[in-house]
């Protein structure tokens, strides 16, 4: 109750954004996806910072490996030594708690918004992709809810896999098992909420994939050199439109060259699915 009243302004804001997206012509389900993407996009600057720190970590990897080898048996000591090493070398470890917690009010606000949604469904299309009949209803009211739930659990496990880094093994397993434990509770949630989770998890996975691909790129910078002439050789065969396959095979080649711009582009593309 108290939480609800504190979050009322945020709830209103979220509802306004939802309404705005809906009035732009998006169905309600896509408005929720859009709202999630907006929230995650606001967090992208933080992610870019994380990528930088990840590259920095990569550069210091050998020394860190040495520390890990030295304190193999003692997790606590190892963590402590690693943290000391970070501080000495001015490394900013990738994750931090505040951006994670920033999602919490949004999530709770969205929960209340969607619950009100379910009690008094607004006029308009409540279905999604022709297979979810009503996003305001509980996830277990239709088989599509179970599909979304499966995607949610998979994406949750995958995002844990990408985010967990040097986390303790036992904790990592716990985090991977918990989504399964939550299934009976989530079944009682509105489908729209599951939709939100799914989107935000898939975004996390997408980001994880992008950073995974980006980080080793630092070590293999020489690949930039051959990419230059390749691009120029691609332009002449473009004349005959029949050889579309030629363009397709050539297209991935110049990708590594604009590492800076690709970073942003890819992120958006990966998350929209």
């Amino acid at each position: 109750m108290i939480v609800a009243s504190i979050l009322t302004p945020l709830e209103d804001l979220l509802r306004h954004i939802l309404n705005a997206l809906h009035s732009l012509g998006l169905p309600w389900a896509w408005s929720i996806v859009g709202l999630t993407i907006i929230v995650r996009m606001l967090l992208v600057p933080l992610t870019v910072k994380q990528i930088h720190s990840m590259q920095n970590m990569q550069a210091h990897a050998p020394q860190m490996k040495e520390i890990q080898r030295k304190y193999k048996g003692d997790r606590t000591k190892l963590n402590e030594e690693l943290m000391k090493f970070y501080k000495e070398n001015n490394i900013n470890p990738a994750a931090s708690c505040l951006p994670l917690l920033a999602q919490l009010p949004v999530f709770i606000g969205l929960f209340y918004t969607l619950r009100r949604f379910a009690k008094k469904p607004p006029p308009g299309d409540l279905s999604w992709l022709h297979f979810v009949p009503n996003i305001a209803k509980h996830a277990n009211s239709h088989w599509s809810g179970y599909v979304l739930l499966a995607i949610y659990v998979l994406s949750q496990v995958a995002s844990t896999y990408f985010m967990s880094g040097t986390m303790q093994k036992s904790q990592r397993y716990l985090m991977m098992v918990l989504p399964f434990v939550f299934i009976p509770f989530i079944l009682k949630f509105p489908t729209g909420l599951v939709l939100y989770w799914m989107t935000t998890n898939l975004w996390t996975v997408g980001q994880g994939l992008v950073t995974r691909r980006l980080v080793p790129k630092v070590a293999t910078t020489p690949t930039v050199a051959p990419a230059g002439p390749k691009r120029s050789s691609r332009t002449p065969p473009k004349d005959d439109a029949a050889t579309g396959a030629d363009i397709d095979t050539a297209a991935p080649a110049p990708r590594p060259t604009p590492a800076q711009t690709r970073r942003v582009k890819k992120k958006k593309g990966g998350a929209r699915r």
């Binding site: 963590n79 690693l82 931090s96 967990s164 989770w197």
Partner: protein, 76 residues
């Protein structure tokens, strides 16, 4: 009273934390462990302040590192 705080942190760990997405904290001990330590050592109110301050420090612009609740400098 202080165990209310500890219980709240455990409740968070088992309910909300997995939903938010898992990241390792840049500090050692992690923010939630710090909160538990702070509650145990300083009681509910001081513990809440310390844990809140720690969370605010755990942002992308801070440097992280080793930071125990017992070494706090807020309450002297």
């Amino acid at each position: 009273m202080r165990y209310v705080g500890v219980a709240a942190v455990w409740a968070y760990r088992f309910t909300l934390a997995p939903f938010l997405g898992v990241g390792q904290c840049k500090y050692h001990p992690s923010c939630s462990q710090y909160a538990i330590d702070a509650y145990k050592e300083f009681g509910f109110f001081k513990g809440t302040v310390l844990a809140g301050w720690r969370l605010l420090r755990c942002n992308p612009w801070s440097r992280g590192g080793v930071d125990y609740a017992r070494d706090q400098k807020v309450f002297k």
